[in-house]
């Protein structure tokens, strides 16, 4: 077995176990003892924070992609109206790669998603625009009726 070099030395110490703590990390360095109490609650909160951050990022990326889809479709539609492409070419372009142009509204499978979306909208702020629920649903690719129902249900739970 390979020996790992370390300048940490084991020092004898006695510590009380704090109620609720699942485990403790105790380490000593140059005569100073450090203790970290870890309980399940902290681990769960950490896990939730990481999950929240990953989900927020994916919603933000989706919002940017939907903005691009909107622009792509506007440009395609403009080309049709200006007579640069025919109705047939317009339909072929859509059928060829509909994901470039269409915003897909999906089912919300987790009520926490509604909270994350509400949190993101709050951070974006209302200075640039007062969003309607349908605009928010288009922005984050979720079905509007589900978003409204979940926010209402969460609001009742908080009351």
């Amino acid at each position: 077995m390979e020996t790992v070099e370390t300048n940490l030395l084991a020092e004898p110490t006695t510590q009380d176990i704090q109620e609720g703590a699942t485990f403790k990390i105790v380490y000593a360095y140059q005569g100073v003892t450090n203790i970290i109490d870890v309980d399940l609650d902290i681990i769960e909160k950490g896990r939730q924070a990481i999950e929240h951050s990953i989900k927020s990022e994916s919603f933000l990326i989706e919002a940017v992609q939907n903005f691009i889809r909107k622009m792509n479709f506007l440009e395609l539609n403009e080309s049709l109206e200006d007579g640069e492409i025919s109705e047939e070419e317009f339909n072929i372009a859509l059928e060829k790669d509909v994901n470039r142009y269409a915003i897909t509204l999906k089912d919300i499978d987790n009520p926490n998603d509604a909270l994350i979306i509400a949190d993101l909208i709050k951070k974006i702020g209302y200075d640039l625009r007062e969003f309607s629920t349908s605009e928010v649903s288009e922005m984050f690719s979720v079905k509007e009726n589900q978003l409204v129902a979940m926010i209402n249900s969460l609001r009742h739970q908080i009351k």
Partner: protein, 134 residues
């Protein structure tokens, strides 16, 4: 047949007539499990009337939608989802009194009031509701 003017009221039908004064450029929406729709948003004023009911008479998009023949939405800003792309004929200074022909939409139509008339909004906010004011 009824006229709906409140925020969130919606109608669905297989054909409709649409009267508009101004409309935004459409965007393309794909509703998972439902289908692909062109979404328009009226500005200023719009009336949407169901001229043919859905067969079977079951909602496609919103379970609270009104599905009867001649059900009508009227409001300031209305969002309209159509299965096919259309070019609207815009009508200026139309009114219910004058029988101006609107756009006949021969495809599935879903419409919902986003912003109703001001008096409806004010009624909701209690500005002219004595029961709430007192």
């Amino acid at each position: 047949m009824a006229k709906y003017i409140d925020i969130g009221d919606s109608v669905e039908g297989s054909k409709s007539s649409v009267y508009l004064r101004k409309v935004n450029k459409p965007i393309l929406l794909n509703l998972e499990g439902v289908g692909r729709f062109y979404k328009y948003k009226s500005k200023i004023r719009a009336i949407i009337k169901i001229t043919e009911e859905l067969v079977p008479k079951v909602y496609k998009i919103c379970e609270t939608s009104n599905l009867n023949l001649n059900d009508e939405l009227e409001g300031d800003i209305i969002e309209i989802l159509l299965e096919e792309k259309v070019t609207f004929q815009l009508i200026s200074n139309f009114s219910n009194v004058h029988g101006i022909q609107g756009n006949s939409i021969n495809t599935f139509t879903y419409a919902k009031i986003i912003i109703p008339w001001r008096f409806v909004l004010e009624r909701g906010l209690g500005k002219h509701n004595p029961e709430i004011e007192n």
